[in-house]
Structures are given as C-alpha cells and as structure tokens.
C-alpha cells in the first residue's frame, strides 16, 4: 500500500486549529487519531491529514460513578486506566479486550470507534447499551446519546467536527458482553451487551443491545421490558432467550445467515443478562 495523494500532515495544537485545517481542506482533509480505518480503507482523495492526538483529548476520568473518556484515548489506554477498569462492573475491559488484537488496540481510539461505527464492531453495541453520550466540537459544541446519534446521518457531521469526549453514565448494576467471531481477533458475527440492576431480588432496570446482525448494535426495548420486575434466574433467561429468538430482526451477509443469527442472538442475550445479573447481585 502506498500513501495515496496525501501531501501534508498536520499536528493540530488544539481543537480550533484542527477544525480550521479541516475546513480548509474540505472533502480532501481527514482527521487522524488512531488511523486504523485510514489504513484499512485508504481514501485516495485525501490530501491533508490532521493529527489530533496532541490536543489533550487522551484521558480517562471518573465522573461520580460514571467515566469520561477523551476521544483520542486508545483502547489500550482505557484498558490500562483504573477508572475505565472499574466502571459498571468492569464492562469496558470486557468489551475492549474483544476488539481486534493488541497492536490494533494500541492504535485504535474510542473517538474513532464512535465515528467509524462499523456495524460489525464491538464498541458501538456497548456504547448503545451503556447509554454513552458523545460530545464534539464543530461550528458549535454538540452532544448526543450515541444511540440517538446513530439514528441520524451522523457521518456528515464529523467531516467538520471533532469528537472530544465520550461520557458513560453511572449504573447501579452491572453489564456483560458476549461475542461470537470466527477467530479471537475477528470482528463480530454477532454481539450482545446487556446490563441489569437488581433490587430486592428483582430486576430493577435492564439494557439489552445486540449488534452485527449484521446491522449496527441497537437496543431491544421489548426485551428490556420483559426483564424488568422479574426474578433473575434460569427460567427468566430461557424466556428471554426464546423471546429474542422470536422477535429480533436479523439479516444475512457473507459471514452468517439470518437463521444462525436469530438463534444465537437469543443465546448471547441470555448469557449476557445472566452474567450481568450475577455480577450485579455480587
């Protein structure tokens, strides 16, 4: 692979400079954070790369039970941080260790994962399940729940805006993540991120998201409703499994059929919910 038509490489000193450089290049400019997607799918039309890794967006902070992660924090950076490690019963390490390989986790950034939002990716499913909020700086500052952002034509937004931070809210409970890939370094054939809170022996709240089906991860509100108020245990997990298998919308691609995804979606949700409940109860 060669460098395409890239003529200039800029280290932006702050967000404003990054935005001004992006504006100057128009469609011929691109933000470089981890660079994973630029390497995987080189864009032949890019003339100017704007590196945003030196503008102070690499940080992980605990925020009253939640966690705020700077956009250029690498996945390895999150994994190595105490705040990232402790959040919501350790869900972030669980998800991030399932992403690609260590060398790629050393490159890939959380902000990059939000923006690239590949349907087969692990992180978007978790962001949706966890109720993560993304913040950005463009002409104006902006913020949105990732779940809502993904319902909009968001890709255009980030041609002239830079993600600055991802905020994860506090949860009184725990989450778990399940994934089936072909190999350990593979993208997901299917994934599920689920969380529950258990109070007085019953499920107080539930979050259920399934991704790579083969569309991007989305929540299953009807599955969440079916869990709330119920007593955790095998009968419930089996019921949820059957429910998901019955109602989930899945498709097929070259990696897996809809039939397999339908069956396994129920399995993964049941497993993730069960593990989350065990963690929450502990």
């Amino acid at each position: 692979m060669h460098g395409g038509r890239v003529r200039r490489f800029h280290f932006a000193r702050d967000v404003e400079e990054a935005l001004s450089l992006l504006a100057a290049y128009g469609s011929r400019g691109a933000v470089l954070a981890g660079g994973v997607d630029l390497l995987r799918s080189p864009r032949g039309d890019v003339e100017g790369l704007v590196d945003i890794t030196r503008i102070g967006l690499s940080s992980v902070r605990e925020t009253g039970g939640g966690v705020a992660i700077g956009a250029t924090t690498t996945l390895s950076g999150v994994l190595e941080s105490q705040a990232g490690h402790d959040y919501a019963g350790g869900i972030l390490p669980e998800v991030l260790r399932a992403v690609a390989s260590l060398p790629l986790r050393n490159m890939a950034t959380l902000g990059g994962a939000v923006v690239s939002a590949h349907p087969w990716a692990d992180i978007p499913t978790a962001l949706v399940a966890l109720g993560a909020e993304v913040r950005w700086q463009g002409e104006r500052e902006g913020r949105s729940l990732v779940e809502e952002l993904y319902r909009t034509p968001f890709r255009g937004l980030f041609r002239s805006a830079v993600v600055t931070e991802v905020r994860f809210p506090p949860w009184n409970g725990a989450f778990a993540y399940e994934k089936v890939g072909r190999t350990r370094y593979d993208i997901a054939l299917l994934n599920a991120c689920c969380g529950v809170g258990v109070e007085d022996g019953r499920i107080a709240w539930a979050r259920v998201a399934v991704g790579a089906r083969p569309t991007r991860g989305e929540r299953l509100p009807w599955a969440e409703e079916a869990l709330v108020g119920r007593v955790p245990g095998e009968p419930l997990w089996n019921e949820v499994r059957r429910l998901v298998e019955e109602r989930i919308e899945v498709g097929e691609d070259r990696r897996a059929s809809g039939e397999w995804r339908r069956t396994v979606a129920g399995v993964l949700v049941a497993r993730a919910v069960a593990r989350a409940a065990r963690k929450a109860s502990a």
């Binding site: 692979m1 072909r182 350990r184 370094y185 993208i187 397999w260 399995v267």
Partner: protein
C-alpha cells in the same frame, strides 16, 4: 545405504539455524530488500470479468502517463503456451496458459502489465488502459463446468495436454485394482463419506515478488521469492524467448511459500518488462493479488466408500474426486493423483481399490500446489469414513487403524499404479513407526479414558477425535538433487546446493547432514543455496523432498570428500587410509594414534604437496519415496448453543525417520497442524455471483492466530529409514493432513453430528446439529 549407529555429533541436534541470526537481526535478506538504483515498478492489470474475450486494448493514454516505460498486453508479447506449475520435466500440467491472452478466464486474470518510474505512475497507467471486453457466460462451480452445454473455458487451439477441453476437464484418472464394486457389495459392512474443501489461500507472510535486472555481462538476473529456481529459469527462458544460459535465478531468504511459490507467476512478466526497458524491474503482489492471482488449494469434493469384514479389515476402498482447478490447470493432474496415491497405500489390507476423478476448469482463481498436495483433501474423506466404519462396527477407531495400516516389508499396488502424472514406482515400506505413533498419541491425549465420554462444561461439550496419515519424501523417477562440497584451505567447508530453503530450515539440515559425515561442527560448513549460476541442480522445495532427496545428494558428496580427506591424510601420515578415521575435526590413525587436523589437511592439499582441490559433486535421483507416518489426536469443545468449536488440545505423533533437527521438525508439525486447524475451522475464500472474491484479505479471511492456537504437542517417534540420509524421511507436509478429519471426528464424538464441509463454522455446526435433531 547403511545407517550408522555411532554417536552422532551433528544430526539429531537442534543447532542454531544457519540463517537464524541474520533473520533475527533484520538483515536485508529477502527479495525486495535489495534496492537497485533506477528500478522500475511493475504492475498488472487484472480482469474485472470472470470470462470474457478481449476485443481490443488501447494503451495510448497509458503510455502517455509521465514515467511509464513499457506496457505489455497480448498484442505485443510472444504467444507461448506454457504451464505456470514449476514442476520437473516432462511437465505434467497442461500448457493452457499464455503470458497475456486474448481471453480472460477469471476475475484477476492478467490483461496487461506496466513498468513505470513510480507505483503511482504505474497505477495511473493501469487505470488508463482501455480494454473492450465481450463478456461471456461464466462457469462458477465444478458442477456447472460439467453441465451439458457449459461454456468452454479453454477453446484456444494451441493449448496442449488438456484431457478434454470441450467438457472443461483439465485432467482425469481412473485406476482400478481388483473389483471394487463387487467387493463393496459383498462386504460385511460398507460405509461412505463425502467431504468438501473450499478455496483456501496459503497466506505466506511474504507476497510473491521478484526483482529482474541485468548484470554487468548483460545477463538477466531474477532475484525471486520462489521454491523452484531451476524451474523458473527453464520456464522463463522458454516463455520469454531467451537462451537459458542468459538467465540467472537467485532465491534469497523466503517469507514462506507452502506450495504457492512453486508457481512461476510474476517472473516472466518482470523479465519481459526488464527486457523491453533495459531497466531493473521490481514487482510484488499486493495481499489481494496474492489471494486472487497467485494460487490456492484445489477445492475438492471427495467421496470414499469402504467395505470391510466384521473384524474391521478393509476389503475395498473406492475414492472418487471432483477437483476444481480454476481457470488454468496448474498441478491439476498431479494434485488429483496425489489424493489417491498418498492416501490409499496407508490401508493396504484392502485388496480391491478404485481411484477415479476429474479436475475441471471453472472461471475462478487458479488452484495449485499447497502443502499436502491433494493428500489433505483425500485424508479428510478417508479418515472421516474410517471413523464412520469404526462406529458402525463398534470397533475403537485406533484399533481399526491398527488392523489396516501398512507395515515394514509391505507394499501397496497404488505405489506402482499412481505416480506424478504417470505410473508410479513399486516400493516396499522399509520404515514405519505408525503403530508406536498410535500408541503414544492415544496415551498422551487420554484416548481410552476420555473418548466417547462427551464431557460437558456449561454449554461446552468436549469430544475426542483422531486420524492417521502418510505422505512421501520426494517424487520417484522425477526428483533429482545435486550438491557440491568443497574443502577450503583452512579445513572448513563450503556446501553448494540447489535446494531451496523456504523457511523450513533446510539449509541448516543439509549442513548437519554434511557435518555429521565430516565429523565437524555445523558452523564449519558454510551453505550457499539456490543460485542457478553457482549451485548445482535441484528440482526445488516441494513434495516433501529436500531432507530426503537433497539430503542424500549432500551425504553422497560428503562421503566422497571424506574419502578424499583420508587419502590426503594417509599420504601425509604414511598410513593406510583404511586405518584412519575422521572425527572431531581431525584425522586420526586407529593404529598409531597419529593425528592431522582438517586445517593441516586443507593447507597441505592446497599449498604443499600433490596440490589439489578436495571437493566432490554428487547427485541423488529419487528411486523411492519413503512415507513419513503420523497419528493425530485432538480434543475439541463445541458450544452446543452457538456452534462455536474450540480445539483444546492437539497431539501429533509422527515418524519422520531420524529427525535431523528435532526442533525444526517439531516446528514443521506445529505449523502444519495450525494451518490444518485453519482449514478445519476458519478458512474459506468466498465469491460473489460475478466470480469476484469478496474476502481477499486478512480482514475477512481468517487465519488462526496465536490466541486461537491450542496446546499442540508434537511428538517425534523415531524410526530408521535405510534409504534416507542418516535415516531421515520427510516431515514438512504430513502434519496438515490430520486436523480436518481429526477435528470432524472429535465434533462427532462431542455432538453426534458429522461435519463434512469445511470449514466447520459455528453456523455449519449449529445447523448440522439442528438438521440431525441433536
């Protein structure tokens, strides 16, 4: 030749690989590490169509791109039908390929080539070549290829050696022994298995690449990543129209080949571009091109029918093959032949045999040599069928193999009936430790304790499976290797071999074979290999030949040098040569104890008395091909709810005769097992309806990674092959034959379902289970 039993000093030791330090230190040892000033970049224009006639090619715009120095296409290169398969002469693959044809036969086929000052200019030029195609109906499966009225893929009149071009059959075989149909009908028990392997890629780390340039004498030098330098020279000379004496081929270190570099794909194009421009030309496939335009394993469907007595002794084996050779017939006949020739002799108790099949053309990528070379496909079906038979008879699968496998002193009619594109050579098995391999492997995996127990661990169900295999050591009547061994004036040695180390460690092993004979440490033997100007002939690194064939040539040369050393020493010491022995870097008299070091002998022969060069060239043609044997055992865990299969443990016990370098031999086994696990669980090239490969890259074509690797226990079970150098046979290919059937059989042990279509993806496992109602 006799196998000595004295204490060995070099053989059987895991010495430092002769190329290890330079590789570890990152020295510039690979093909494209040589940076020649003024080198042009060569690139190839691939066909966007699976099957099309080229109506016209307009290169005017491409030639006008600044920096473009040459554009090749069918209109301006000689038309010479040839085969890209780098095999010995006479070449058994059909001459169905020309450098640039008026027709394209798969998506990725060569349409044109460009040499330019930069990669960007070359790519711009490729984009500006205007090609008008007349798109033809495409044949995208072996079944379609055989259908009535199927498009004829090779309708060119000048192709040679195609079995039946009108019906898209590149090669066909039908070898009957006895009356298999009657024997199957009369057998106490008959079973059947049909197994399928898809397109898969060798995925060597280094892509195919070549540097073509002219030396100071105006000779064409091809520095290339190849397994067959001498075949490259012969074939390029013919295709390009050069006197072979004007071509030198150098093989530097290679980043893997696994058979894919037994093909001559880039070299003639680079040679022609260099000839047209007078400039050095470097070419390298991108990873996508490696997938599509180099070579793949032959996808196959293999059906095996077994007939047996109630005691499990086989009476009949019928093996039928449908092989997909893709758009061209590289290795079509020989890979097809090896499906039977490398498998059927293993169970030589069956008196009635039939091996029959076809290799058909399709408009898909070209298949070629791939480690295992047909045996991998054959063993998948044969060993699954053996498992089915064991189940039906209620006989332990290990015991069933014991009752049927070939032993020392025995033969099989298949050895004589099936060779490499012609009849084979009768041979008797002179070494076989398969019985020991079965015993040791079964003990190590805990076969008796754990097989059939279906241990459950949450959703994971554990099962055990096993398989056996043999391979060969070179090609009888075809392979020949030569070696030149020179003693230098300081008493050290230079070993010149045409043999091709493709990362296997053969340079080291050949040095060990010589050092053992000469009684010196391995580092006293400097190895120079694979340079057609400076090293003697060798057919190349394929067919598990190097240790046995090249090793025997080295041993013969070393024995002659040994004799010459004793003669010089005898004269100097005034003793009879018969009273002298060569050991520990010196010649010593058993009679008087007088001693002369090798450096003194080298010095005397070079400078002092009766001056002469102590040296010898010897060659070895392969009269027989002693098979290595192996028993494979594995434990898998199957997630009954998702269909995910994990290989938990893999045990392989292999008989390669004497392991010259045990660690390298174990490494060959471990690598082959992991590659076989890839075949079993992950690897499959997928195609769109247009014939385009949709997963030509590692993002979506998955290889087992280190995290997916189970605990692999490679056990070398020694035997002494009397015809092998220091008792050695081959080890490089056999390991890949076991994982497919062993894993399939283990899944059956765990889940009660037979997986016969590779890879065993979660979906295939889950849906098979559902279909079986389990």
């Amino acid at each position: 030749m006799a196998v000595e039993t004295r204490q060995r000093v070099a053989v059987g030791r895991s010495v430092t690989k002769v190329d290890g330090p330079s590789l570890v230190a990152g020295k510039p040892v690979f093909t494209l590490d040589l940076d020649l000033p003024g080198a042009l970049v060569g690139k190839i224009l691939p066909s966007p169509h699976a099957h099309a006639a080229i109506v016209s090619v307009d290169t005017s715009e491409a030639e006008a791109v600044p920096g473009v120095r040459a554009v090749l296409h069918h209109g301006n290169v000689p038309r010479v039908p040839y085969t890209t398969a780098g095999q010995g002469w006479p070449e058994p693959s059909p001459y169905d390929t020309v450098l640039f044809d008026r027709k394209v036969r798969f998506v990725g086929d060569r349409v044109a080539a460009v040499a330019a000052e930069t990669e960007e200019a070359a790519e711009e030029a490729l984009a500006k070549i205007r090609v008008e195609y007349d798109v033809l109906p495409a044949v995208l499966s072996p079944e379609d290829a055989q259908a009535d009225g199927a498009p004829v893929i090779h309708d060119e009149p000048d192709a040679e050696g195609i079995y039946d071009a009108q019906h898209n059959i590149a090669a066909a075989v039908d070898i009957p022994v006895g009356n298999v149909a009657r024997a199957l009908a009369e057998a106490d028990v008959a079973v059947e298995a049909t197994c399928e392997i898809p397109y898969s890629q060798h995925a060597a780390i280094e892509p195919h690449c070549v540097l073509a340039y002219f030396d100071e004498a105006g000779r064409l030098v091809l520095r290339t990543s190849t397994q067959v330098p001498f075949h490259v020279r012969r074939i390029v000379a013919r295709v390009v129209g050069l006197d072979p004496a004007r071509i030198r081929v150098i093989k530097p270190r290679i980043g893997g080949g696994f058979g894919s570099k037994q093909e001559i794909v880039l070299e003639p194009v680079a040679a022609l571009l260099a000839l047209r421009t007078g400039r050095p030309v470097r070419m390298a496939y991108t990873r996508q091109e490696v997938f599509v335009a180099s070579r793949t394993r032959h996808p196959m469907r293999v059906n095996v029918k077994l007939g047996a007595r109630e005691d499990g002794v086989l009476q009949a084996i019928d093996m039928e093959v449908l092989s997909n050779t893709g758009a061209y017939g590289a290795h079509a006949l020989t890979v097809l032949s090896n499906v039977g020739s490398k498998t059927l002799p293993l169970y030589n108790k069956a008196p009635h045999l039939r091996f029959h099949g076809k290799a058909v053309y399709t408009n898909l990528p070209v298949a070629g040599a791939y480690r295992g070379y047909g045996a991998t496909q054959g063993y998948f079906a044969l060993e699954v069928a053996m498992d089915v038979l064991a189940e039906k008879l209620g006989i332990d699968p290990v015991e069933l193999r014991r009752r049927n496998h070939i032993r020392v002193g025995e033969t099989s009619p298949i050895f004589e009936k099936i060779g490499e594109g012609r009849e084979g050579t009768a041979q008797i098995i002179r070494s076989c430790a398969l019985g020991e391999c079965l015993r040791i492997g079964a003990d190590r995996i805990g076969w008796k304790e754990n097989r059939g127990r279906r241990r459950e661990d949450g959703p994971w169900v554990h099962g055990l499976g096993m398989a056996c295999a043999m391979q060969g050591s070179g090609i009888t009547g075809v392979d020949m290797a030569a070696a030149t061994l020179v003693m230098q004036d300081d008493g050290s040695f230079r070993l010149l071999v045409g043999a091709t180390d493709l990362g296997t460690g053969s340079d080291t092993i050949l040095a060990q074979i010589a050092a053992e004979e000469l009684g010196v440490p391995v580092d006293r033997v400097l190895v120079y290999s694979s340079d057609t100007d400076f090293t003697p002939f060798d057919t190349g690194a394929y067919a598990s030949s190097t240790t046995y064939v090249s090793g025997n040539a080295v041993l013969r040369a070393a024995q002659e040098v040994h004799r010459q050393i004793l003669a010089v020493a005898a004269e100097a010491l005034e003793e009879r040569a018969a009273d002298l022995e060569l050991t520990a870097g010196a010649v010593q008299s058993r009679k008087t104890g007088k001693r002369l070091s090798l450096s003194e002998i080298g010095h005397r022969a070079t400078y002092v008395t009766d001056q002469r060069q102590i040296a010898a060239t010897a060659s070895f043609a392969c009269p027989e091909s002693p098979p290595p044997f192996a028993a494979f055992f594995c434990e898998v865990a199957v997630d009954r709810e998702t269909g995910v299969v994990r290989v938990e443990r893999f045990v392989v016990a292999a008989d390669c005769g004497t392991a010259i370098h045990p660690q390298a031999a174990e490494g060959q086994l471990e690598g082959a097992i992991l590659q076989g696990i890839g075949h079993a669980l992950y690897e499959e090239m997928l195609f769109a309806n247009s014939g385009r490969c949709v997963n030509a890259g590692f993002f979506d074509y998955k290889l087992p990674s280190s995290l997916d690797a189970p605990q692999i226990e490679a056990i070398l079970v020694p035997s002494e092959e009397p015809t092998g150098p220091w008792g050695a046979k081959s080890i490089s290919e056999i390991g890949i034959n076991g994982p497919l059937p062993a894993i399939s059989n283990a899944i059956h042990d765990a889940m009660g379902v037979r997986l016969t279509q590779a890879p065993f993806t979660p979906e295939r496992v889950l849906l098979s289970r559902r279909a079986a109602g389990k």
